[in-house]
């Protein structure tokens, strides 16, 4: 008996000997060649940086994520420290980065860098996780984190609150732009995980009623500098 891979490829090649018609498109004459061409039909992400920031703020509000805009890094650290006090955090895990360290340094509670191999239980017991991000998608209110920008896979999803610190220049208009940036930045050496986070974790599984914090963070804060 031949192996499964060979068999499956043989079945596919046999099946595709007969061509299938193209789908019934609305625009038969100008059917899109690539998905990039679809950009003008998708939700707007803004033409200028200013537009994009307005759209981003609107999307984040609808998603029940909290946007904190600050003029400089000192104010970012202050805002973060206030958040920690208001929420009475006892333990905060963070990804070691030039953007995050000054914030962590202002904390009066325990703060630990979760970049070396760590105890899962300790991370689960942390009140908040602080990370950077790859980019922010205005069009959808999505924050793109990676196993590099957010100190691995679990830090952005296991603690009960997720805080992202970013510069306003990291905002891109749409998903296509974010994906292009990923390719340009990482090429064939992609981080093993890239995740578009769109609002705090949620579920509607019980009677289709929205509940925040199903398994991931119940709250999501974006501190945007500039």
């Amino acid at each position: 008996m031949s192996d499964a891979r060979t068999d499956i490829f043989a079945r596919i090649r046999e099946a595709l000997k007969v061509k299938a018609p193209k789908p019934h498109l609305k625009a038969q004459t100008s059917s899109p060649k690539t998905s990039v061409a679809a950009k003008p039909w998708l939700p707007d992400g803004g033409e200028t940086a200013e537009d994009s920031l307005l759209i981003l703020a609107e999307q984040l509000a609808k998603l029940k994520a909290v946007l904190i805009r600050v003029p400089d890094h000192a104010s970012a650290a202050k805002a973060f420290a206030e958040l920690a006090t208001t929420k009475s955090w006892k333990k905060v895990a963070y990804h070691g980065h030039e953007l995050t360290r000054p914030l962590a340094a202002t904390l009066t509670c325990e703060a630990w860098e979760a970049d070396a191999s760590f105890d899962k239980q300790k991370l689960e017991g942390s009140d908040a996780g602080l990370t950077t991000c790859e980019s922010i998608v205005a069009q959808l209110g999505s924050i793109l984190v990676s196993s590099r920008s957010s100190g691995g896979r679990a830090l952005s999803v296991l603690p009960h609150v997720h805080v992202v610190i970013a510069e306003a220049s990291q905002v891109v208009p749409d998903l296509g732009a974010a994906l292009a940036l990923v390719k340009a930045r990482h090429g064939t050496d992609m981080p093993s995980m890239l995740s578009f986070i769109t609002g705090p974790s949620r579920t509607g599984d019980i009677e289709r009623i929205l509940v925040l914090g199903a398994h991931g963070p119940k709250e999501l804060f974006l501190i945007l500098v500039g």
Binding site: R11, A20, S31, K120, S142, L158, S201, D205
Partner: protein
């Protein structure tokens, strides 16, 4: 499984008569319609975005051998292990073997319809592995010992009181009628399981050939945790999930969320390209993907219905289907419910036993209109009906069609037959007609006209 039709008819009859349950389902879907329309309105041209989504899938499916090969090569280059399964049994064996080699004690799963298709949980449990569903809806269905009701909203038919009772019974928690508190009970219960599990099993929504990444769409964060904490990550996916380029996701991810759940984007859309990389602090040591055929190539071989493989499992066709809303998801007896399930199940499990699902449609076309990738769903239901009649015509098909064929070729016989029919129509109303019982029970036959159409035409025009 010849009784699948009998079970379907029985369940459908009972459920369609349950007004309370139907109202509950309608209410649950009400919020979806509102949110979906709000999100659709943000698209500058939803119809042309559908064109783009449809073409992204069309071009991958119609070049499947090359695109799949490219995906596999890139996936392996990223450090993942590829396994091939011709059918459900092979897929189960592959996963069991990985679990045995790893001496796994605990397995955690995120939502994966393909795993329902191959009955993976049964196989794992029989082999002595504990496996826990982590998606809230799937977790509830697992505790209930019931198949998912809807492949996106697995327990949308269950009332909060029943969930509260279920949790009290299995988890020993205090009763509550708050969906939020119920969600938190599941959250607390499952968190430790992610930490303890050796193996995490997920599905895949898209396989990106260009980069060798798999894309997983979810809202709860359970798939994120499933692929972050256990030592081994296994993804199970149908071979048709492949797309050419990373850019294709810029169309497909938002449309999947909008069509499927009325969201701009689901909460987590994650791309995985391998096990933990050098310099990364967490993530699995091993990353396996099991690529499943299980009759998908049979559907691929039918050019007329090949587009059914474009399906991105958003569930939009279920949400708008008058049949689904009235008979409910469990009546179908299939892994994939609703219009898409009625189209593909006969290909996956046999036309003869599952053709009755093609009749479970008013052919209203709401499904086709709702499909973000433009699958011609309601016509495929007709195609299945035609194919079934050709493949194994019933006695009724044979007698009726041969009889009709004989009569229609002989005008004198057709005219005579018409006269007899018009004369006896009032009598027919009172007779127990075969096949017509369900129809006649609530309807009267129309009054027969005095003249046939041909006589009228002759009278007026000749």
């Amino acid at each position: 499984m010849d009784n699948s039709k009998a079970i379907f008819l029985k369940e459908a009859t009972v459920n369609a008569a349950d007004g309370v349950q139907r109202a509950f389902i309608s209410k649950a879907l009400g919020g979806y319609y509102t949110n979906r329309d709000l999100q659709k309105a943000r698209y500058r041209d939803w119809e042309r975005a559908r064109d783009a989504a449809s073409m992204a899938k069309w071009s991958a499916v119609n070049d499947l051998a090359n695109v799949l090969e490219k995906f596999v090569n890139n996936f392996e280059r990223n450090g993942g292990v590829v396994h091939w399964a011709r059918d459900a049994a092979e897929a189960r064996d592959i996963i069991l073997k990985i679990a045995e080699n790893a001496k796994a004690k605990a397995i955690v799963k995120s939502k994966c319809m393909t795993s329902e298709e191959i009955h993976l949980n049964d196989a794992l449990e029989k082999a002595g592995f504990g496996v826990v569903e982590s998606d809230l809806g799937e977790f509830i269905q697992q505790l209930r010992g019931e198949a998912p009701y809807h492949f996106v909203f697995p327990c949308m038919h269950v009332k909060r009181e029943a969930i509260s009772e279920l949790f009290t019974k299995h988890l020993g928690t205090a009763p509550t009628d708050s969906p939020e508190e119920l969600t938190m009970i599941a959250r607390r219960h499952l968190r430790q399981l992610y930490v303890d599990a050796d193996i995490g099993i997920t599905g895949a929504n898209f396989l990106v050939a260009e980069t060798g990444q798999i894309s997983i769409t979810e809202n709860e964060g359970n798939a994120r945790l499933t692929a972050a904490l256990p030592r081994i990550h296994i993804a199970l996916s149908g071979i048709e999930k492949v797309v050419n380029e990373l850019d294709d996701l810029s169309v497909l991810l938002p449309m999947l969320a909008t069509a499927g759940a009325g969201q701009p984007m689901t909460c987590y859309n994650t791309l995985y390209s391998g096990p933990r990389k050098k310099g990364e602090c967490d993530g699995p040591e091993e990353f396996h993907i099991v690529l499943l055929d299980n009759a998908r190539t049979r559907l691929l071989a039918d050019p007329e219905q090949r587009d059914a493989l474009h399906c991105i499992r958003c569930g939009a066709c279920l949400n708008v289907c008058p049949i689904f809303k009235n008979i409910g998801g469990l009546a179908y007896g299939t892994t994939y419910q609703g219009p898409i399930g009625s189209v593909i199940t006969p290909h996956l499990r046999g036309l003869k036993q599952w053709n009755h699902l093609s009749g479970a449609s008013s052919l209203c076309g709401a499904c086709t209109d709702a499909c973000p990738v433009r699958i011609d769903l309601h016509h495929h239901l007709l195609h299945n009906r035609r194919n079934a009649a050709k493949e194994s015509p019933t006695l009724f098909d044979r007698v009726f069609h041969n009889g009709f064929n004989f009569v229609i070729k002989r005008p004198w016989l057709f005219a005579t037959g018409g006269r007899i029919f018009r004369a006896t129509l009032p009598l027919l109303q009172k007779l127990p007609l075969p096949y017509m019982g369900a129809w006649m029970k609530t309807r009267d036959l129309p009054k027969a006209p005095a003249q046939s159409f041909r006589d009228q035409w002759k009278h007026d025009h000749v």
